[in-house]
Structures are given as C-alpha cells and as structure tokens.
C-alpha cells in the first residue's frame, strides 16, 4: 500500500511536470469522452423515442393473439376468450395496464377518396396508457366509450380523404364469413401524431361498435399488456403466460415489431463500436504522451532503479500515470457531457429535417437520453483500452538498465 502511495505521488507529480502537454492530452480525452457520451445520448434518445412511439402505437410490452394472427391478421384469427373471460383473467392480475382491442385491416372511404387503414376498435379508457394519441389534443373529440358511434381519423388521413370533423365516411372490412362488413361513421375527431405516417395509418372506433360491424360478438383480435420498462418485459411476459393456455400465442413486443426489437439490440452494439472508434483516435495521443514522458525521464528512471526500486514498480508508476490521465480526462468529459445534455433533455427541434427523420421512424423533436449505463460503459472501455495501450511504453521503461539510463544525456 505504501508503495502504491509512493508510485501514485510520483505519477501525479510527473503528470504535471509538463503541464502544457498534460492539459492538451486531457482536453483531447475530455472532448473525446464528451463526444462519445453526447452522440450516444442523442442516438439513444432517438432510438428510445422511436421504440416508445412504436410501442405506444402498436404493441404494448406483451400481446396475446390467436396463434395464426401475426401471419394473417384477419378477423378470422381472434383470441379465443370473450370479453368477460378476459376481464376475469386479467383485471386483478396486477398489470400496469391491459386492454383488449379489435385490430383488423380495413378501407375507409370518403365521398372523394379511399385509403387502406388499420382499424382499431378500442375501449378508450383502457387504451389511454397505451395510446400515442393525446385525448385532449384532438380536433373535435376523441371516442368517449366502447359504444361510441363516431370515428377518429388522423389529421393527415383526413386531408388525403378530403374530409373533416362532422362529415361521414364509410369503413369497410370483412366479417368471419368473408362477407363485406361495412358501416357509415361520422368523423368526430382528428388526432395528431409525431409522424405523418402514423396519422395516415390508423382509424379509431368504439370496440363494441367494431365488434357489431364485424359480427364477431364479444371477441377481440388482440390483448395488450403494459409493464414498468420496455427493456425488461420478462416479468409481464411470465405473468401473462401463467394466465392463459395454449389456445393463444403470447409475444413480447420485440417479436411483434422485429424492426424495433432489432434496433434496440443494434443500439448497444453501435454504442460499443462508437466508443472504440473514438478511443482508437485518442490512443495515439495517449501512447505518444506516455512515450514522450518516459523518454524525458530516462535518467530519473535509471536513478530510481539504481536506488533499489524494482522494474515492476517502474511499470506500475507509468501505468498509474496513464490511469490518472485517463481518469481526470474522463471525469471532465463526463461533466461536460452532463452539462450539455441536461439542458437539452426537454427536446431538440429538428423539424427542418423532419421528413428525412420520418423515413426511418424518428420524430421531429429529439430528446437526448443520458443513460448512466452508457456513461459507465464508455468510461470502463476507455480505462481498459487505455491500460492496454499504456502497457508497451510502461514495459519499455521498466526494462532500462540502470547504468545505461542514468548516463543518458
């Protein structure tokens, strides 16, 4: 322990012997660390937003369907339980939220245009936790209950159909006998979403109204469940599996929306690659700094060896010096990242590139997400790689012959 203290004091003093070089290197490490964390926070925020939006639009955290539904999402593939049975099974099971819905493909027609949409027959009260729609921010009104006779369309879809609140549209789908099931609805509200594609894709009607139109009694095609964290859905998944039988298929959101699921996995991989790329750039500076620091004090290293310090202690001294340099640089970089990300957490408006962002599912406001795990990962990776990069100059320093080193000019 005493030797560690001796080496640490020497390392710290040598670090500040050439303070200009140390400050330059510290700046490089700090900026590199800041870039790692800041870019990761931006990307993490964007991906998180895409996932949260995606989950809120469609999957929830866990879903149950008829086993055939995901391959053929038609009204013929309905969940085998009635509304009453579903309520008996799930009402008191302790989920954050759950909802049963009718979700089938349909066509909506105005007097001028027709568009294919996903028809969502919902109970608005049960869906509120899942929905991307802000019920209070709807032109007109949102659905008031499962028996509501109105329809709520996206604002963009209404534009396309050249319709508006108060006008009537016809919704058309198929019933279980493959007969046309259609019905006229009055447009009671127009919802707004982060992305136009969402506004064009969904039409909301009351669940009971949809069940009557489709002639499916009190059955649904999908039941969705919400847990505490979309990253850890296993507790919800296990609970749902324990409450149903083999007649239905239980799926995690990553299985329902494989694009989003893959994106979440990719994000962690991308983060690691990004950290390593930045470090590789930094490592040249780090190794150069250490080589110069060792070269400048060959005589003093020789002196320490001559006085009885072991080569392993010289090795330790250089490694400690490198670790101190990295630790201080990382701390400054972490602080910088925190100081720049925190004020931006309320959102960065990138609406000038909204169209481009929407092409891959991102919204026009970016919410940077400073995840402590990302900060720890980048710090740990830099420390480990920095240690490895420092081994070579430290090893060379420890191999000097005292008599040669001490006479070096």
């Amino acid at each position: 322990m005493q030797m560690f203290f001796v080496l640490s004091r020497l390392a710290w003093r040598y670090l500040w012997r050439n303070h200009r070089r140390t400050i330059v290197m510290l700046s490089a490490i700090a900026v590199g660390t800041w870039a790692m964390i800041f870019m990761t926070a931006l990307t993490r925020g964007m991906v998180d937003q895409m996932i949260v939006d995606g989950i809120s639009v469609i999957p929830g955290h866990v879903q149950i369907h008829d086993p055939e539904y995901l391959d053929d999402p038609s009204v013929n593939n309905r969940v085998a339980f009635s509304d009453t049975e579903l309520a008996t099974r799930f009402d008191d099971a302790g989920f954050v939220a759950w909802a049963a819905r009718v979700r089938v493909p349909a066509v909506v027609t105005s007097e001028r245009e027709s568009r294919g949409v996903t028809l969502l027959g919902i109970d608005p009260a049960a869906e509120e936790s899942f929905s991307f729609v802000d019920y209070d921010n709807v032109d007109g009104r949102f659905l008031e209950g499962p028996d509501d006779k109105g329809i709520v369309l996206g604002a963009k879809l209404a534009d396309t159909l050249e319709t508006r609140v108060g006008k009537r549209v016809v919704l058309m789908s198929q019933d279980p006998d493959n007969e046309i099931a259609d019905r006229g609805f009055r447009v009671v509200g127009l919802f707004h979403a982060e992305m136009e594609a969402t506004e064009e894709s969904y039409a909301f009607v009351g669940k009971h109204t949809a069940q009557k139109m489709l002639r499916i009694g009190d059955t649904v095609t999908e039941v969705v469940f919400l847990g505490d964290d979309y990253r850890d859905v296993e507790p919800v998944y296990s609970k749902v599996v324990g409450l149903v039988d083999d007649s239905v298929r239980v799926s995690r959101w990553t299985e329902v929306d494989t694009y989003l699921g893959t994106m979440m996995g990719m994000m962690d991989g991308f983060m690691l690659i990004w950290v390593i790329v930045i470090f590789l750039a930094l490592s040249f500076g780090l190794v150069n700094t250490l080589v110069m620091a060792v070269f400048e004090r060959i005589r003093e290293i020789g002196l320490m060896l001559a006085l009885g310090m072991k080569p392993s202690s010289i090795l330790g001294q250089i490694l400690i010096e490198s670790m101190m340099l990295l630790a201080v640089g990382l701390a400054i970089g972490d602080l910088l990242a925190w100081a720049t990300i925190k004020p931006l957490e309320s959102g960065i408006d990138i609406s000038v590139v909204a169209k481009g962002m929407e092409m891959f599912g991102a919204a026009s406001v970016l919410y940077p997400n400073l995840d402590i795990d990302d900060v720890i990962l980048s710090n740990v990776v830099v420390m480990i790689l920095g240690f490895l990069a420092s081994l070579s100059p430290a090893w060379r320093a420890s191999r000097y012959e005292p008599v040669e080193a001490i006479t070096k000019v």
């Binding site: 005493q2 020497l10 003093r13 012997r17 320490m304 001559a306 009885g308 392993s312």
Partner: protein, 231 residues
C-alpha cells in the same frame, strides 16, 4: 572477518566504434567493512565501471563480485534492486535527484521504498537534512537549490538509512572547495562513528586526502594500493 566488498578477476570490455576498450582487466580487490577507500585513475581508467560493478548496476563480462558475503554478479534484476535498497547508498557525480520531489521527499524516497513508517521517515529525513546543513530547505525542489545543496541532498539520501556501504562517483566534481570539505568531513564522521564503508571514485586531490586507503587504477587494472593516514 567477512569482507564488505570482494572482486575477483573482473573483466569488462566496452566497444566504442571499432575499438574494444578494456574498462576492467582481470581486476581483483578486497575491501573490509569500515574502510574508507578512494579509487583514482585518469579518465577511462575503469573506476566508475568498478563502482558500478560493486553496486550491481553493471554486470562484468567475467569474474565474481561479492557484497557482504553474497555473490551478486549472478543475481536477477529484482534481487540486485533488493540488495541496493538494503545495503548500498549511492552518490552520483551529477546530482541525480528526482526533480518532482522536494528535498525532504528525495531523502525519504529510499525509506519509502523500504517500507519505513511515515513518522520515522519524517524524523530521520529532517535530522539528516539538518546534519548536512540544509535545515529550512526541506520543501525546496531540486531546481530551487544550488549544485552544492543538491549534492548534499543526494548525500543525505544515500546515508539516511545507514547503509553498510556507500559508493560515491566523483561526489565533489561540481562543488566548490568549502562545500567539498564539508561533504568529506561528513563522510569521515559517518565512517568513524557508524563504521560505514566508503568507496569513492575521484580525481579530486582534496578527497584523496581524507581516504585511509588509495587504490590507483590504469587501463582497468590496479597499479597501486596503499594505506594512508587520513587528513
């Protein structure tokens, strides 16, 4: 009685360009504990090479080196480091202090590596700095001290842990005559009161006057080895 230093048939050749230079040529010498020996030779005569061989800083091409009954020319680097740390104090020609440490920290350095407790280190370092006339300069770094002061710090570091053997290579080369005299008187006092063995390589006639034994070297060989009454 066991010799403090025993060198048997040492040979060491350096290559300089196309020329082989025999720094040590079948040299043998024995130094008893408590002796005060002065090695003298013209430049290139081999005295520094002999000093380095005795201190385990340089390994001879052939021959044997024994320190306090242990053969050291076959020891590993780690064993040699332990030997130097425990038994030998070094004073080099150029002051060779650690520039990022203060005078007191330089003096404490060897004791720290030895694992001596902080309070003991502090007491000893203050005492020895006072003894070499540097009281009040404990917190100065080498760059803030004169050459003579630096050399006295180096001497303090070499003797603070009371090694059995002190090896000094031209210790007065960069000192004025007053400081040189003070330094040699300090060496003499340590030799007489603590029975510390001193081996000093020097050109300086004033240093030779303090030695009890003069060993003259030429081309890596001992040409004269006489005892004398110290000044």
């Amino acid at each position: 009685m066991m010799s403090a230093v025993r060198c048997i048939n040492l040979c060491k050749t350096y290559r300089q360009g196309d020329v082989d230079i025999k720094a040590l040529d079948h040299l043998s010498v024995e130094i008893e504990k408590g002796e005060f020996v002065c090695l003298m030779s013209p430049s290139g005569g081999g005295k520094t090479t002999l000093l380095n061989a005795i201190g385990g800083l340089d390994i001879p091409d052939s021959g044997e080196v024994w320190i306090a009954g242990e053969r050291i020319d076959q020891m590993s680097k780690g064993e040699l480091a332990d030997l130097r740390l425990a038994n030998i104090g070094f004073v080099f020609q150029a002051y060779n202090l650690i520039p990022v440490l203060t005078a007191q920290e330089n003096v404490e350095f060897v004791m720290q590596v030895q694992g001596v407790r902080a309070a003991e280190r502090r007491d000893k370092s203050f005492a020895i700095l006072e003894e070499v006339g540097l009281k009040g300069l404990e917190t100065r770094r080498p760059a803030e001290m004169s050459g003579g002061q630096q050399q006295r710090v180096a001497v303090a570091r070499a003797i603070v842990s009371r090694p059995e053997l002190v090896l000094a290579d031209e210790p007065t080369a960069n000192l004025d005559s007053k400081t040189s005299t003070e330094l040699m008187e300090l060496f003499t006092e340590l030799n007489e009161h603590h029975n510390t063995t001193f081996v000093i390589a020097t050109h300086d006639q004033r240093v030779q006057a303090y030695a009890k034994r003069l060993v003259r070297m030429l081309d890596g060989r001992i040409v004269d080895d006489v005892e004398q009454h110290a000044a």
